[in-house]
């Protein structure tokens, strides 16, 4: 894991503040915690700030959240640098989190890494059109559908280098793509359809 540092000062926005919608949401989050424990809301708020800022946490957002929760700046910086799901530099519009842990690796995640490197570049590089970036992450818990990647909020599963490359291209071109298994498979059910509990009589009266 590389050192996680804030992005260079040149690309940091000068200011950050929640949009009206997010501000309302944040205040609601605050009300969940007892008095004096508002600092507990720091992770949800940072996450919302990351969403609003386009997938990364600018330095101004760290200060904003700290002020919002009456925390010291360094305390929020500690949290933002500790959790790897907070991106500290701008990412692509479609940020690919590619699983590289053992089950996915055994099922060909290595080839998917090659695809990323060819199509996008090094980890955290953003393509020139700003559409794509990628990072290798630890297990995302979809080992049944290995290899897989999470792109923004959706899982794309049962990937092959070809299908993965196509998803990346389609996303970059702004075309619609379908999340979930990319082969003939219903969610995590066996490939080619169920192999047990196939007797229709089992389902009598269930509909």
């Amino acid at each position: 894991m590389a050192n996680r540092r804030l992005a260079a000062a040149e690309i940091q926005p000068k200011e950050f503040s929640f949009s009206a919608v997010n501000l309302g949401w944040a205040k609601k989050q605050l009300s969940k915690y007892p008095d004096g424990r508002q600092a507990s809301a720091v992770i949800p708020l940072l996450w919302k700030a990351q969403e609003q800022a386009g997938g990364w946490v600018p330095e101004a957002a760290i200060r904003y959240v700290a002020d919002f929760l009456s925390m010291a700046y360094i305390r929020v910086l500690e949290i933002a640098t500790f959790y790897t799901m907070f991106n500290l530099a701008p990412v692509g519009k479609h940020h690919v989190q590619l699983c590289g842990t053992t089950p996915c690796r055994l099922r060909g995640a290595g080839d998917l890494i090659d695809v990323c490197e060819k199509r996008i570049g090094h980890q955290f590089d953003v393509t020139s059109d700003g559409a794509l970036s990628w990072v290798e992450v630890e297990c995302l818990g979809a080992c049944v559908n290995a290899p897989m990647a999470q792109i923004n909020y959706d899982f794309y599963e049962d990937l092959t280098p070809e299908s993965f490359a196509k998803i990346l291209d389609d996303l970059a071109a702004g075309k619609k793509v379908n999340p979930g298994p990319q082969i003939d498979r219903q969610l995590s059910a066996p490939v080619g359809g169920p192999t047990t509990l196939t007797d229709p009589s089992l389902y009598k009266g269930s509909k």
């Binding site: 590389a2 996680r4 330095e59 010291a72 360094i74 305390r75 910086l77 640098t81």
Partner: protein, 692 residues
């Protein structure tokens, strides 16, 4: 109490003791890096591993488990701990090996060398070889202020510095960013730390990651002479150790004194050292045709004698400064009396405190350690963070224990703990005294209320009335009962309480410091630099630095700074302490009492003591309590009641800050480049905060 067996020795310890404390109580030595008595427990260095019988079959971090959580044996035998078994030895060796994996082998160029916990413990508990072939981790050094130099490769992430700044200093400046192997200690975007106690992280750092910036590469610990002394930068009287090489003071470190400073000292105390070397007066001067010229002692004395011979005794005066010892003030008072004048004053800031009110009216009666016993606090016209940083840490310590309402009347400032702001001036004080407001109810309910009165509230024309009103509050709200006296005056001049104790204030028909500075024929300034003397008077300055007093002087008599003389100081709580001589005054400079003694002979008013012991004997005869070194002679609580009886209505003006610039309060600090840099940084931070 819980019975435990430690290395086979049975011992009774309180249940809330940690295993580490229990082992120490049994005489076993436990190595540690992250554990510190005065900080919260982190349990992350793992150096304090011991073996516990009945627990899980693995070493236990002894700092992070309580004795009461141990399980007894199957038949109710006391729990057993072992600190010398092969398992413990191996565990310690393993931890040490892990710590050293990324620790550079740069002890020869490291300032911590010779006083390094890691070095010592690696010798005692480590192995003598490395099995590690990979590259060591490299970490960029961070800027965290003018006083602390960082060498982050050496950091072992004990987090003592983070816990200190957050818990004790109360300014969450430092933090650990990143995680795991990439964890790094830094301030937010490498800004300077904002605490007046930041120098203490250097002492806390068990390795050479945080070292003293002004002292960098200056000396090795084993070549220094060590003298235990007393600090004079504020009226707290912190216990310090002055390290010297030859004649030069190299650094100042804290000593532990639970009653005063625990083991912390302020940055001014620690880093004023370079001010002792610059701007020093090392030979007598007299002003000839408007220019100061170096002369011999005899010439200087002769000139003074000629001037005094023609002066009206009622127009001769003496003002003692903030760093003067009891001895020299006593001798100067003696000389002035012999010269037939009652014009003496040690309150150059114009304080209206009068020793005739009684000793209880000007002491910090609750004592510094007593702050921890208080259960409510009212601060009147004081910013303890600037006036007595270490004492402020004690207030914060009490606040952290909980159930400690704090009210402030005076200038609003960040004191590192929250408080109820009651108002800016005497009006709010009067309101509180009449029992109005929520805080009056809080204060009324308190068992042992503490009322801190700052100098700033007493340096005004209505000072006596403000003091009286504060005393009224102390009396009416039950601050004096059952051995508790909560009426506490917080001074910030080291000499002040000693001066008041010996009565270095105007006698009958005498003029006070302000009057003297505005008119008079001959004026002695004993290190008094914080007062402007109007043109006209013939000024004799006895002092150490070419500061304001010396610029105004007609005769300069070079004296000794506080590390260069032994002297008695009385701190704000009335504790009598003696500083020791660590080095020598430069050039022809002499100890101040000796100057006054020698001058008295020239003036044909010979003082009857030829040595410091004789002088102290004279002081002891007049004021016996001033020879009880290290002790507080408690004042009579009735003094406070008498002060309350003075009464009167204070003016309306708000209380002002007692100290404008924490880093530049005395001539030594003003001569220090390090203090100047700190002052600039603090000013920048203040401007930044104001802008927001």
């Amino acid at each position: 109490m819980t019975k435990v067996l430690i290395d086979g020795v049975e011992i009774d310890v309180p249940g809330e003791y940690t295993l580490l404390q229990a082992c120490e109580a049994a005489g076993a030595e436990i190595p540690r890096f992250c554990f510190h008595e005065r900080l919260s427990i982190a349990g992350n260095c793992r150096m304090c591993l011991i073996e516990v019988k009945g627990g899980p079959p693995k070493p236990v971090a002894s700092c992070a488990q309580n004795v009461r959580d141990l399980r007894p044996g199957p038949n109710g035998e006391p729990p057993q701990m072992f600190t010398k078994t092969p398992m413990v030895k191996k565990a310690r060796e393993g931890v040490m090996e892990f710590l050293l994996i990324n620790h550079p082998l740069d002890c020869p160029i490291c300032d911590q060398g010779g006083e390094c916990d890691l070095q010592d413990q690696a010798m005692a508990y480590g192995v003598d070889t490395s099995r590690y072939w990979e590259n060591k981790r490299a970490v960029e050094d961070k800027y965290i202020g003018a006083l602390v130099k960082t060498s982050m490769n050496r950091c072992i992430h004990c987090t003592r510095c983070i816990r200190f700044t957050t818990e004790v200093a109360g300014v969450p400046d430092l933090g650990a960013i990143g995680r795991g192997e990439d964890m790094e200690i830094t301030t937010y975007l490498e800004s300077a730390m904002t605490s007046e106690l930041q120098g203490n992280v250097v002492d806390l750092c068990p390795v050479g990651a945080l070292t003293s910036k002004p002292y960098a590469f200056a000396a090795r610990p084993w070549e220094l002479g060590k003298t235990e002394s007393i600090d004079v930068m504020d009226a707290v009287g912190s216990a310090i150790r002055i390290d010297t090489r030859g004649r030069e003071v190299m650094r100042i470190l804290p000593r532990t004194n639970e009653d005063v400073n625990e083991e912390w000292i302020s940055d001014k105390t620690r880093h004023v050292v370079d001010g002792l070397r610059t701007q020093r007066l090392d030979t007598p001067y007299v002003r000839v045709n408007g220019r100061l010229q170096p002369v011999s002692w005899n010439e200087a004395f002769g000139m003074i004698a000629r001037r005094i011979a023609t002066a009206n005794p009622a127009m001769i005066g003496a003002i003692a400064g903030d760093l003067a010892t009891v001895e020299e003030m006593f001798a100067l008072k003696d000389l002035m009396t012999r010269l037939g004048t009652a014009n003496i004053d040690a309150r150059q800031d114009g304080s209206m405190i009068d020793p005739r009110w009684g000793r209880g009216s000007y002491l910090f009666n609750a004592t510094i350690a007593g702050i921890e016993k208080a259960d409510a606090l009212l601060i009147i016209g004081s910013n303890p963070r600037k006036e007595a940083s270490v004492l402020n840490a004690r207030i914060r310590k009490r606040w952290r224990m909980g159930q400690f309402p704090i009210g402030l009347i005076g200038e609003q400032a960040d004191l590192t703990y929250p408080y109820n702001y009651l108002g800016a001036g005497p009006d709010s004080l009067a309101e509180l005294a009449s029992g109005k407001g929520d805080f009056a109810a809080v204060l009324g309910k308190a068992e042992r209320p503490l009322i801190i009165v700052g100098e700033a509230a007493l340096t005004r024309a209505d000072g006596p009335r403000v003091a009286s009103m504060a005393a009224t509050i102390a009396r009416d709200f039950g601050a004096m009962k059952d051995g508790w006296n909560g009426f506490s005056v917080l001074h910030h001049a080291a000499s002040r309480v000693g001066a008041l104790d010996i009565g270095f204030v105007p006698g009958p028909n005498g003029h006070n410091a302000v009057d003297m500075s505005n008119g008079g024929e001959v004026l002695f300034l004993l290190g008094a630099d914080e007062i402007d003397v109007a043109p006209g008077a013939f000024v004799i300055y006895i002092g150490t630095h070419g500061d304001r007093g010396a610029h105004r002087a007609d005769v300069i008599l070079p004296g000794a700074a506080y590390p260069e003389k032994s002297g008695i100081y009385v701190n704000t709580e009335g504790r009598v302490q003696m500083s020791e001589r660590a080095s020598f005054p430069p050039g022809d400079a002499r100890e101040d009492w000796a100057i006054i003694r020698a001058l008295s002979e020239t003036l044909k008013q010979k003082l009857p003591y030829d040595s410091l012991p004789q002088l102290r004997a004279a002081i002891g005869a007049a004021h016996p309590h001033l020879l009880r070194i290290g002790q507080v002679t408690p004042a009579d609580p009735k003094d406070v009641a008498r002060l309350a009886d003075i009464g009167g209505k204070p003016d309306k003006a708000a209380f002002e800050s007692g100290i404008e610039d924490f880093y530049l309060t005395n001539p030594i600090a003003r001569a220090s480049a390090v203090m100047a840099e700190c002052s600039v940084i603090a000013e920048g931070q203040a401007a930044l905060t104001a802008a927001e």
